[in-house]
């Protein structure tokens, strides 16, 4: 029974994670400009791969693997916002304006 539960949770995590990743990818394609796409990539993408990692950790039933999966996830959490920040900042500074749909840009007049 435990095995079934474990398998079910793992399967759920796998499907959920990959769907999050897919959603992020769709967002990447659909969203109108760079800055909005970044939301998609830095959130849905991170959570998606985090869930998949966690699924792997869980299914292994090995605390070491779980710990590593978690460590990996934490690491993504550390890096994802930084890379988003760096990229957005660089893009904005090098003259990539917000898309036409945008309503406000407080950074433009600095």
């Amino acid at each position: 029974m435990m095995a079934y539960l474990l398998a079910a949770v793992t399967a759920l995590l796998l499907i959920a994670g990959s769907l999050f990743a897919l959603a992020a990818a769709i967002g990447l394609v659909r969203l109108p400009d760079l800055y909005t796409r970044m939301h998609s990539a830095s959130k849905a993408g991170t959570v998606g791969s985090g869930l998949l990692l966690f699924a792997a950790g869980l299914y292994s039933q090995d605390p070491a693997v779980v710990a590593r999966a978690l460590a990996g996830f934490v690491f993504f959490l550390l890096t994802a916002p930084v890379s988003a920040h760096l990229l957005a900042r660089a893009a904005h500074r090098s003259g990539h304006d917000l898309g036409a749909i945008s309503v406000r840009d407080d950074m433009r007049n600095r």
Binding site: L14, A21, A55, A56, R68, H96
Partner: protein
Amino acid sequence: MITPAAIVAVASSAALVILGLALLLTVWRVVAGPTLPDRILALDMLTGIAIGFIAVIAVKTGFFLYIDIAISLGLVGFLATVAFARFVLSRGNIKSPPSASAAKGGAKRRRAGRTEG
């Protein structure tokens, strides 16, 4: 009889297919751009999906040692994005006249080369 392993196998196969789709979409963004940061963002995302892909393969094959690969990929993927961000920044303002930025390095400007990367 549906065994736990079978459930996971099906789920992981499905996950692989979904991730494959995600990969393709991301690759499309890489190629389509339109701007340089868009591509960089997509590549960053590609790394993220690859990490998930590896995790799924770990589940599918039962070799959880693959997780370490995923972790390292996260590490260097970050480095790649940082480097690309630098690339964007150091390229200078795309709206200013190109000669100002291209003169850097003292090299003769390419006649036909395009500055947009």
